[in-house]
């Protein structure tokens, strides 16, 4: 039988995959993909908890996360386009303007 732990573990694995993506990638677009992966992983955990505890709060949070993800993509892609116009590249190694 599939229990809450199963879902949570899948969620954790997906989250870690997203984390690895964030760590590994240098291209901003790909970083965005990795963050989407992480957000989705969290959503699974929320939906699972909501299901197993018969409480809608988890789903509510998932909705808001989706809303935030959508706005993030809208603004983020706008910024990416501006950045690309300015530098002609989306590679983080080329954007090291905050060197201390």
């Amino acid at each position: 039988m599939i229990g809450l732990s199963h879902y949570l573990i899948v969620s954790a694995i997906l989250f870690s995959i997203g984390l690895m993506g964030v760590l590994r990638r240098r291209n901003l677009l790909m970083l965005f993909f990795a963050t989407e992966v992480m957000l989705n992983a969290v959503n699974i955990a929320f939906a699972a908890i909501s299901h197993f505890y018969h409480d809608l709060t988890g789903q509510m949070f998932a909705f808001f996360i989706i809303a935030i993800a959508a706005s993030e993509v809208a603004v983020g892609l706008g910024i990416l386009i501006v950045l690309f116009k300015k530098h002609g590249s989306l590679d983080l190694d080329d954007l090291a303007s905050m060197r201390g």
């Binding site: 984390l19 964030v22 760590l23 990638r25 240098r26 970083l31 983080l92 190694d93 954007l95 090291a96 303007s97 905050m98 060197r99 201390g100």
Partner: protein
Amino acid sequence: MENLVYIALFAPLVSSLFAALFGMSPKKQFVGVVASVLLGISLVASLMLASYVYTTGNTIHVTMMDWISAGDLHIPFGFVVDQVSVTMMSVVTLVSTVVHIYSNGYMDHDKSFNRFFSYLSAFVFSMMVLVMSDNFAGLFIGWEGVGVCSWLLIGFWYHKEDVSREENPSISPSWAANEAFIMNRIADLGMLVGLFILYWNVGSLQYDEVFAALPHLSGSILNAAAIFLFIGAMGKSAQFPLHTWLTDAMEGPTPVSALIHAATMVTAGVFLVIRANPLFSMTPDVSYFIAALGTFVAFFAASMALVNRDLKRIIAFSTLSQLGYMFAAAGLGAYWIALFHLAAHAFFKALLFLGAGNVMHAMHDELDIFKMGGLKKTMKWTYIYMGLASLALAGIPFFAGYFSKDAIIETAWNEGTLVLWLILVVTAGMTAFYSFRQVFLTFEGDERYKQYGIHPHEMYKYVLIAMSPLAILAVIAGFFKEPFEHFVTALLPEYHMSEHTHHIAWLLGIVVLVFAVGGIALAFKKYYKGLKRDEALESSWYYKLLANQYYIPDFYEEFISKPYAMISEKMWNSVDMRIVDATVDGIAKFLYETGDGSRKMQTGNLSNYLNWMAVGAVLLLVVAAVSAAVIG
């Protein structure tokens, strides 16, 4: 009436703030005038309050605002105008007003004219807070306030260089100011402890609540509170062994000596004992100690005054001696007599100091009476004033001092403390001798100042006129003894001589008078015709002992100051530099090096930052997991 209280209290503050506005600018005559007028207003308000309290017998109690309210501690800014405080207020404002007017003339050529008035008025304000407060906390604030102003004013000429003790016994104004301040701090610690004991056991610092609770306290607590409060009084009133600062405080301008170190601040200790009379009445041992110490100081200070050559120091020693008298009276339970002597003394001692200031002004700051003489020709009025003040001080009949001092000596007889009585009588003779030694050496005899090329001149007219109220009071204050007794014993415990003492009062008076006149006669014989130096006497060991103030300042220097400086140096070198400083430096160095090292993280590459963030997040996760495993 409430408005009068606030006017009396705050007029000096306004004056001080007004003068402070011009503190940095060159002399402005109107500053002195405004300050004097404001002080005059305060004086008028105080006198109106005095007449109100005198005629109606009511006391006025005002609470301006809450000051401290924390937990059980509740201290309001309250002021009480009763028989005792209104007496003090009148004396303080009267002397201060005269001194303010006097200072207009005395500080005429000083470049810090405005600053002087600011300090002087601030002092009066603090003194008013001290005497008017209705609780010990307010009294303590005023107590510290007058201490600070005294420090500022003693060190008024702070730019003078330090010189050796042989050249000038008080080294320099700043040195003297610091000495006075530090001595007072030592005593204030005692006072604070006394206040803590009272608060701890009573739970309040309001006078009426504390005094009402006293009968419920045990004897040892009362003794401890009385002893510690008296330690505070000893510092402020310069009683042995904390007396050395008072003579050194003469480094300040003379009006300051007259106001602070003769008439008002130094009597704060006596005022405290009088104010806390319910406490001291219940601790006879402590009171007896106070009386004995007062008597000792009276004699001890008078003995040092006998041989001193410094005009102001002689008067300072005499102040010490008279404070001793006051403490003797207060210790013997005759609080109203102590207060009476306090008031009378304030008048003639301020007059004496102001006269000395005139002489100083005339002699271009020369203070050695051996270099004066014959000044009566040029300074007739000053001579008259100082003569009157000295007569009052010596206790010649019908002058103020006669009534007050004789009452104290009579009290000593009445209490059966014959040793104290004898010492006080002898001291009265010594007082007469040194006062007239000083007067004759200054004003009579050969004109020794001529060989020093000094051309003395009399003080300004308005200054002399301003001094006249003090002179009049020094002469007539004694006649108000009966009404005064009636007035203040409404609040203070009554004190009556026994039937027996009453009968022989005339005899006791004559004994004292014989000593006083004897002292004057001796001074007249030795010094009236001029100064004849007696080499044999001056080189004798007892003369040297007295001239060097019993070597007490040297003793303090050798056995307290120097070891303390040595210990401080050691602590500085070993503890402060090696441990405290090293720790602080170590922390700073550590932070600096960590910063230097971690600066390499700041590559400017977002990806690296993300990696670091992930490291942090994972670390937090691990911590959370471990703590959950351990706790849960």
